[in-house]
């Protein structure tokens, strides 16, 4: 599968979608408030749809966001729903939600997603500095 790498900016997240079997890396990190959320996330959703056809033995998807706006929150849910589909098809999936240890709102956002989607979900705190 092709590898997607999008560099992060001050309003769009860094995206890495690399399903190389030996060294897979699936991650969205940084800030998300794109001018056009639908256009920004469309290739990511498409990639996941294709990936769902032949996923790795274990899919680990990392979210490591500092900030996202409400429009992005809806698209993040769409990504999680795709991961839920893969899980429902009988594949192993783990969502890792990374949040700064002093950011209760980001921690709570992860908990809320975990409540909504039926997929193994792990909260991982990290310290900035």
């Amino acid at each position: 599968m092709k590898v997607i790498k999008i560099h992060g900016t001050d309003d769009t997240p860094q995206v890495i979608l690399d399903a190389t079997p030996e060294t897979p890396h699936l991650e969205i990190s940084g800030r998300s408030l794109p001018e056009d959320v639908v256009t920004f996330y469309a290739p990511i959703i498409e990639w996941l749809e294709e990936y769902a056809g032949a996923p790795l033995g274990k899919t680990v998807f990392n979210f490591k966001l500092e900030y996202f706006n409400t429009a992005s929150s809806k698209l993040l849910l769409d990504i999680l729903l795709k991961l839920e589909d893969i899980h429902e098809d009988g594949h192993e999936v783990l969502v890792k939600w990374h949040y700064p240890d002093d950011d209760e709102d980001m921690e709570e956002a992860g908990q809320e997603y975990a409540d909504i989607v039926e997929v193994p979900f792990e909260q991982v705190s990290y310290s900035i500095d």
Binding site: D11, N69, A71, K74, D102, D115
Partner: protein, 192 residues
């Protein structure tokens, strides 16, 4: 150029405006089209000022969140006649004020009079909910709500209420038969 002020009037206006801004502790005032570039510029400017003032990280994040949602409420719902808010041309007024205790973020924009009842109902509903209620409403809206063509998710007001922990302060002023001016103020405490 009939509408423009004479030099003397202009001078008086500028000074009067300056005094009023100082008196009301307004750091930022803008009237015009609200675009993505404007949103980025204002949030970045305010972030720099908050850093200089040593505001806690949690306060900075809340102010950032509220500014983005307020500005996008105006920019995203512009020209979208099917949505609840339809501000003319995505224009509006945007103010940030600050005193020792709190930040106040205020937006004002023109909405269609016929959309006012729905908007009021939505805001009243949000103000009647507690923390848990707002959380549930957010989750429900995220699951069931659809993105408008401009990317509005109907989540902005709920998010503002959740992030600030305060009631939304709003009013509607009648402009004419078919238009009203919608003012929304969000307050963020500087303590924590």
């Amino acid at each position: 150029m009939n509408d423009s002020l004479h030099p003397k009037e202009s001078l008086d206006f500028v000074y009067d405006f300056y005094v009023k801004m100082k008196k009301n502790k307004i750091n930022l005032a803008y009237e015009g089209e609200i675009t993505h570039q404007i949103t980025k510029a204002f949030t970045s400017l305010t972030e720099n000022n908050m850093n200089i003032d040593n505001d806690p990280n949690s306060v900075q994040k809340k102010v950032f969140h509220v500014m983005v949602e307020c500005l996008q409420n105006i920019s995203k719902h512009a020209e979208n006649r099917h949505d609840i808010i339809s501000s003319k041309d995505g224009r509006g007024i945007f103010l940030v004020s600050k005193d020792e205790d709190e930040y106040n973020i205020t937006t004002g924009n023109v909405v269609k009079t016929k959309s006012v009842p729905d908007l009021k109902k939505m805001l009243e509903n949000i103000n009647n909910l507690d923390k848990e209620g707002l959380k549930n409403l957010y989750k429900q809206q995220m699951r069931e709500g659809r993105l408008s063509p401009k990317g509005g998710a109907g989540l902005g007001f709920i998010d503002i209420a959740r992030k600030t922990g305060e009631k939304l302060i709003y009013s509607f002023l009648e402009i004419d038969e078919s238009n009203a001016f919608f003012v929304l103020t969000s307050t963020i405490s500087r303590e924590k």
